[in-house]
């Protein structure tokens, strides 16, 4: 199995000053490595409005490459604007995943709208940056990946990767809204699509990861990398109800594949779990693996799905 050594929390949004739109949450970390720093993108929120409703913005924090626990800069503004009236991303941009493409940086993000019978819907948007990932321009006012007969709602959690010149998008698609004590809770599963240009996508149209804890297990954050001849995926999963506490909350799972299409799940290899106490004692979620100067790191969220920031763990020993 993997052996991750927790290094602690690296970014706490409550400690950031002077940004009205960044008060709480630093969700779904995603990295871009620069010469002197590691840029970690995340999604954050201003305080809730008078109805208790949040919007979500994407931002970044630059960590010193020599000492990732040293913060060099926090983005002065959100990297993306919210969408206009009635558009798919009017109420939130969460999460975001980035990849370099020549001089540009591509971003794929979940755009949030508010619905009447269920609280929200999500589709995946696309934007690019020409200033090294500081600001992004959307390619259109609509989504680049949206609903289809077998993926009816909640297309979210994009993770963009490129292997052998082809773009791959791992994401989640809603399966059903489950009524739990009168509240609609989304069940979603990990899916995949591929593309030559990053705009026109072919969906695989099936669940990649078998459900383990229950049929309605929700899966998120399918974070894929290639090493030692196979593809590795860290992701997170939770129960479909009462998942906001320790008992049924998010944990980190693991799967591997030879071909990206067929995955063998083995959570016993994941090698990281909630702590006995502290900021990640109730849940651990939204894993993101990256390499830096010979070390392998895993960024992740703790309690309340990143309300109090994200932390880092470092791989000890080799891969499973």
């Amino acid at each position: 199995m993997f052996k991750w050594r927790k290094l602690g929390r690296v970014f706490t949004p409550q400690e950031v000053q002077g940004r009205s739109w960044l008060k709480e949450f630093a969700q779904a970390p995603a990295t871009l490595i620069f010469e002197r720093f590691v840029r970690v993108y995340f999604s954050c929120r201003p305080p809730a409005d008078e109805n208790g409703q949040y919007v979500s913005y994407c931002a970044y924090v630059d960590l010193d490459r020599a000492d990732p626990f040293r913060i060099l800069e926090v983005s002065a503004r959100p990297i993306l604007e919210l969408g206009g009236l009635g558009e798919f991303d009017e109420f939130g941009t969460y999460p975001v995943s980035v990849a370099r493409d020549g001089d540009e940086v591509r971003a794929y993000y979940g755009g949030w709208t508010r619905c009447e019978s269920v609280p929200f819907n999500v589709a995946i948007g696309y934007a690019t940056s020409r200033d090294g990932g500081r600001t992004f321009v959307k390619h259109g006012r609509g989504p680049v990946l949206s609903y289809s007969p077998e993926e009816p709602f909640v297309l979210s959690g994009p993770k963009i990767r490129r292997f052998a010149g082809t773009w791959y998008l791992w994401y989640i698609a809603g399966r059903k809204w489950k009524l739990v004590e009168g509240r609609a809770e989304p069940v979603y599963k990990i899916r995949m699509a591929s593309s030559e240009d990053g705009i026109h996508w072919r969906k695989v149209n099936r669940d990649l990861i078998e459900s383990r804890v229950e049929q309605d297990e929700a899966q998120a954050s399918p974070d894929v990398f290639y090493r030692d001849g196979k593809y590795h995926m860290f992701f997170c999963y939770r129960y479909s109800s009462h998942y906001r506490g320790r008992e049924n909350g998010y944990r980190v799972g693991y799967a591997s594949s030879e071909d990206m299409l067929h995955w063998a799940r083995d959570d016993s290899k994941a090698g990281i779990d909630v702590s006995e106490e502290g900021w990640d004692s109730e849940m651990i979620s939204y894993p993101h693996v990256f390499e830096l100067d010979g070390d392998t790191y895993l960024a992740y969220l703790g309690n309340q799905v990143g309300r109090y920031g994200f932390g880092l763990a470092r791989l000890e020993g080799g891969l499973a």
Binding site: G83, G86, G142, V144, S146, Y147, P152, V154, A184
Partner: protein
């Protein structure tokens, strides 16, 4: 060519409709049988949870003279979508098409939003019992918002020409509050997509195929295409984007365009033209046209005042 109005032919308040629907017979769409015509329409029930409308697809069977009613359906032709699905709060309209022994039903599904009233997308449902009941191919849509069609993809009309399925539909160009105290209103235009199987579609992606008559704030809806003497004719409806519900000078009228190649369309609302009739059931607006050929005639089904609250009428091409 000119249209001769034949009057209102169906009044929903005179029939017992499924789901306790009392009013509205919107967007009539014809399916031809050997000895009768089945006309689908969308009618409305009231959502008990909040008093808002739910649109359901029903049908009436008529003799081929399009005067005599044989009967109305006992059950809705398709159930509404599940919780959180694109068609949870209504299906309006549904366009039907024979393909082999199966009837394809292309639905415009409605689901309610918070900052704006609604979002729509296009679904596909199939019937193997001559169109009495339809089963959707999946919980999600076959055509939805995309990069350059940011909202409100709807009003499908599908026909097969050669080996290809052609769909004319509408896409939203955006929502806007036109006056300080009004709710947001939407603007939409007619677009085109093609498919080899009727399931996977390629849009022309935000190409508006019919020119505006009222300028950029013209909303165009419900395209319907029929072939007449070797030329394709499209009938649709159009209106101003706001203050169109009660102001009869800004409400729906019927537009027309023609094409010889299914791609380039020339707008020509006056040939053949059709307009409101003073004092009649269609004195304030005309909307949701559906053109079809039957027994050597070309007919136009359409709605009149109040978006079809009291039924639909018919015109014949002379």
């Amino acid at each position: 060519m000119r249209w001769k109005k034949l009057g209102k032919i169906f009044d929903p308040t005179q029939f017992a409709l499924p789901n306790d629907c009392l009013q509205f017979a919107q967007s009539p769409q014809a399916l031809l049988f050997d000895d009768f015509v089945r006309i689908y329409f969308s009618t409305r029930s009231t959502d008990r949870t909040n008093g808002k409308y739910l649109s359901h697809v029903a049908f009436v069977d008529m003799r081929k003279n399009l005067r005599e009613v044989i009967g109305v359906c006992a059950h809705a032709a398709i159930e509404l979508g599940a919780l959180g699905c694109f068609d949870e709060h209504g299906i309006f309209p549904m366009n039907v098409l024979r393909h082999g022994s199966v009837i394809y039903g292309y639905t415009c599904g409605w689901s309610r939003r918070v900052s704006v009233s609604v979002e729509t997308a296009i679904g596909l449902a199939l019937s193997d019992d001559d169109g009495i009941s339809f089963r959707r191919i999946g919980d999600g849509p076959v055509l939805a918002a995309s990069l350059h069609e940011p909202c409100l993809v709807g009003d499908p009309f599908v026909r097969r020409y050669g080996d290809a399925f052609h769909m004319w539909y509408i896409f939203g160009t955006g929502w806007r509050k036109f006056t300080h105290d009004s709710a947001p209103d939407r603007t939409y235009k007619i677009g085109h997509a093609v498919s080899h199987d009727g399931v996977e579609w390629t849009k022309e992606e935000a190409r508006q195929i019919v020119a505006d008559r009222l300028g950029p704030d013209e909303s165009q809806a419900l395209p319907s295409v029929v072939e007449i003497d070797g030329r394709y004719h499209m009938f649709f409806c159009y209106r101003q984007s706001y203050d169109f519900r009660r102001n009869r000078t800004r409400g729906y009228r019927i537009g027309h365009a023609w094409s010889d190649d299914l791609s380039n369309w020339t707008r020509d609302d006056d040939r053949p033209g059709i307009d409101v009739t003073e004092g009649g059931w269609d004195s304030d607006m005309m909307c949701y046209p559906h053109a079809f050929a039957c027994d050597g005639n070309v007919y136009l089904l359409y709605n009149g005042n109040e978006f079809g609250r009291y039924g639909f009428g018919l015109a014949v091409l002379e």
